[in-house]
């Protein structure tokens, strides 16, 4: 059953951390491809991205976000029952990064901790997973760390971010509604084909070659079928959003903000137009922060809405979509949550 409603789950707050390092898609590109990059930046809507320096990982960013959030919430770390990471940028291939973070964040050893391997679609799935444990009465307080270190200088889309979201049991909390879907027939649309058991790393995968822009590429790189991803996103997302709204009997007017995964401008504009949503209700961070994978919903909520979400009650529709293929939508009411301003580390 892809649609469900969770009760007794309060969205307590969120913090987002991005690297300090700003990379400009046009000015920082090799001079001979700058003209091409101008056209690309204009059409994908991404001008600057945040890239981790060599030493920095996703978990470093998520750690900063989690510490800030816990401090502002004034939560006792001993009360945290679960720590789930949703992302595809582990510190090591094994063990799970969430377990390492249990120790690093000094959470109790009674903490449930594991990683969930989802990318751009991950945020609603993470809310649903942690929310389900809380709604079932299995845990009281949970911390969800979502994001990736997917950015590279040579590829103009992806940007790095780590985020933390706090959920807690509250019998008076408004319901959360979900629509969650998977289509594995599209798994080749975005993939790292090498490095798993189907195609283990071999010497030939490591031999780099220079592409037309002068960037080094090799068989270890991400493969992305742009037209397939665009078709998937623009065909599947609008009906999923409308389907969930219909299912719960809400009109678009009852939603204060529609926050979509920040894929690229072409995809996001098409989705917004197909759903006939006014621009002011659809915040965007593509221009400044690019595509931050699963972190893009928290990045956008923090960078564009954090002061609003800290006061009063707002209803958000959150929609993530991408690698898998996988797409999920959540309708969440946030009432005076803790939303610190964007952190840079």
């Amino acid at each position: 059953m892809s649609r469900c409603t969770l009760r007794n789950v309060r969205f307590a707050g969120m913090a987002t951390c991005v690297p300090k390092r700003v990379f400009h898609n046009v000015n920082d590109a090799p001079p001979k491809i700058r003209s091409e990059r101008e056209r690309l930046a204009r059409n994908i809507g991404i001008y600057t991205r945040r890239l981790c320096p060599e030493w920095q990982t996703f978990s470093d960013l998520a750690f900063e976000a989690a510490e800030k959030l816990l401090a502002e919430l004034q939560w006792n770390k001993a009360d945290i029952d679960a720590l789930i990471i949703v992302g595809q940028s582990p510190d090591y291939l094994i063990p799970a990064t969430a377990i390492i973070m249990q120790d690093r964040l000094q959470l109790p050893q009674t903490t449930i901790a594991y990683d969930v391997n989802l990318g751009c679609s991950g945020y609603p799935f993470g809310l649903h997973l942690m929310g389900s444990m809380i709604a079932a009465g299995a845990i009281k307080k949970g911390l969800l760390l979502v994001g990736d270190r997917a950015g590279e200088e040579k590829d103009p889309l992806f940007s790095d971010a780590g985020t933390a979201t706090a959920l807690e049991f509250d019998a008076s909390a408004p319901p959360m509604h979900f629509d969650l879907n998977s289509d594995g027939s599209g798994h080749k649309a975005i993939m790292l084909p090498v490095g798993g058991h189907r195609e283990p790393v071999d010497v030939h995968h490591l031999i780099p070659h220079r592409d037309e822009g002068g960037y080094l590429r090799c068989g270890m790189d991400l493969v992305l079928d742009g037209p397939a991803v665009l078709s998937f996103s623009t065909q599947r997302v609008p009906p999923a959003v409308e389907g969930l709204l219909d299912h719960v009997g809400m009109s678009k007017d009852e939603i204060d903000y529609f926050v979509f995964h920040q894929a690229n401008k072409m995809i996001n504009d098409t989705i917004r137009k197909k759903l006939r949503l006014p621009e002011e209700k659809v915040p965007s961070t593509l221009r400044d922060f690019g595509n931050t994978s699963g972190a893009s919903l928290p990045v956008t909520m923090t960078a564009r809405l954090h002061d609003k979400l800290a006061q009063g009650r707002h209803r958000l529709l959150l929609c993530g979509f991408g690698i898998g293929l996988s797409w999920g939508t959540a309708i969440v009411d946030i009432d005076s949550g803790v939303f610190p301003a964007l952190i840079e580390a």
């Binding site: 091409e36 056209r39 079928d225 742009g226 037209p227 397939a228 623009t234 072409m266 098409t270």
Partner: protein, 74 residues
């Protein structure tokens, strides 16, 4: 239904080439210096949002000329 001249105008606006090009129905896509994956994405979006017609990457890959793209409007 747009005519071919209107289509070419909208097509050029969509693909947003940096350097202006002369295009007619017989122009081969491969001869357009900036015909690339971005242009293919823009073409898919143009068909979807302007003409309400869903096309996918392989449909575009089969097209040789600009006229072939227009014919996808069916």
């Amino acid at each position: 239904m747009v005519n071919i001249e209107q289509f070419i105008e909208q097509f050029l606006a969509a693909v947003d080439f940096q350097d202006p090009v002369e295009v007619n129905p017989d122009t081969k896509l491969a001869d357009l210096p900036e015909w690339d994956s971005l242009a293919a994405l823009a073409t898919i979006v143009l068909f979807d949002t302007e003409y309400g017609k869903v096309i996918v990457g392989p449909d575009i890959a089969k097209c040789v000329t600009v006229g072939d793209l227009y014919a996808l409007l069916g």
